[in-house]
Symmetry: C2
Subunit: 209 residues, 2 copies
């Protein structure tokens, strides 16, 4: 049975998941919607509404069982699928992502890195090889890569996206500050590093008024 | 007159802002809640509700005036405040952020970089000097830095946060995957790079069911 979950709720699921993981690491077994709300700056009502939309994981007056809720959200998010990733563009940002430990711990596997710069191709980061960009098609097909992470300059991003789609990826995570054109069957998530900073700016502005 | 805006709405404002900026770059002058919703995977009803909460920027049957709405959201977010930032930890992620053009275009100024590694201190990125971490207190005070961006390893993050707070920053943007303890008067935003990837995983999972 597939249930409809709204886009805005889906956007919050990874944030719930991360908070539940932190709570688990702190040794918490049960967490209330009030505490989740305090940690996330979301109203407890909104949290209860979100979590009710895919099943009953809380007990009135007790709270949510951290491990149970975390595993269920992980399942909804498809984290048991072990997606294979490729990072295209091994500049500072690409290298930072290639070194980011949390991807592996969530079941994402970085399978290949690509760059056009001959000074870096052939090398490895964390045991993952940096291929020449011209080999993208064959490597993506051979390694069954599901998701391409674009960390090239904005001017090159659309060309890289086209290459990835041609090679058969199902999804693209785009860090380049540009709107990409992709077919409807390709899932695209745009990452914008200014979002967190803007939120901080908002809170500081309210404070100083 | 200050109006109450819910935490969840505030979290969406930077995303609206980014989408309006992209629309403006594409030459759009008016955008409907339906189109905003399509671009963001949020229902048009939610968008109208969010945007109504801080004023009337849409015309029924026409849409929102892109520039006007963008400027207003920018003002709510405090982007005219020209916050001064420092980045602590000039590894790949810190260097990537120091090179990120969009911060400057939104009015954030990166005023100082810090690291403990003598191989990088004294150098500059984009004209901004990398200081020895031991000089943090004096440099933050002298340059009136408002926000500290933490891109050091998780084990060092709390110590760096304490130093920043001691030196007088008002807000912290934390990229280290660890929960920081900060006083109530310090604004803390935690960045989690897995959130976007989790959202992509969700959409791919629904697709393949």
């Amino acid at each position: 049975m597939k249930k409809y979950i709204s886009g805005a709720t889906i956007d919050r699921l990874p944030i719930y998941l991360r908070t539940l993981q932190l709570a688990e690491e702190e040794g918490k077994m049960i967490i209330s919607s009030e505490e989740l709300g305090r940690r996330l700056d979301i109203t407890p009502e909104q949290i209860r509404k979100d979590l009710t939309s895919f099943g009953q994981f809380g007990r009135k007056g007790i709270g949510y069982f951290v491990a149970e809720l975390k595993n269920h959200i992980g399942k909804i998010l498809g984290l048991d699928n072990h997606w294979r990733l490729a990072i295209i563009g091994v500049g500072h940002l690409g290298a930072a992502l290639a070194n980011y430990e949390n991807f592996t711990s969530l079941g994402f596997e970085i399978s290949a890195l690509f760059d056009i710069d001959e000074r870096v191709t052939g090398y490895e980061i964390n045991g993952v090889k940096i291929y020449d960009l011209r080999k993208l098609d064959s490597v993506v097909k051979r390694k069954n890569i599901d998701i391409g992470i674009i960390t090239v300059p904005a001017v090159d991003a659309q060309e890289v996206a086209d290459m990835l789609i041609q090679a058969g990826v199902k999804g693209i995570w785009n860090f380049a500050p540009v709107k990409l054109n992709v077919p409807r069957n390709i899932k695209l998530v745009n990452e914008d590093l200014t979002v967190g900073l803007n939120a901080l700016s908002y809170h500081l502005t309210q404070e100083s008024n």
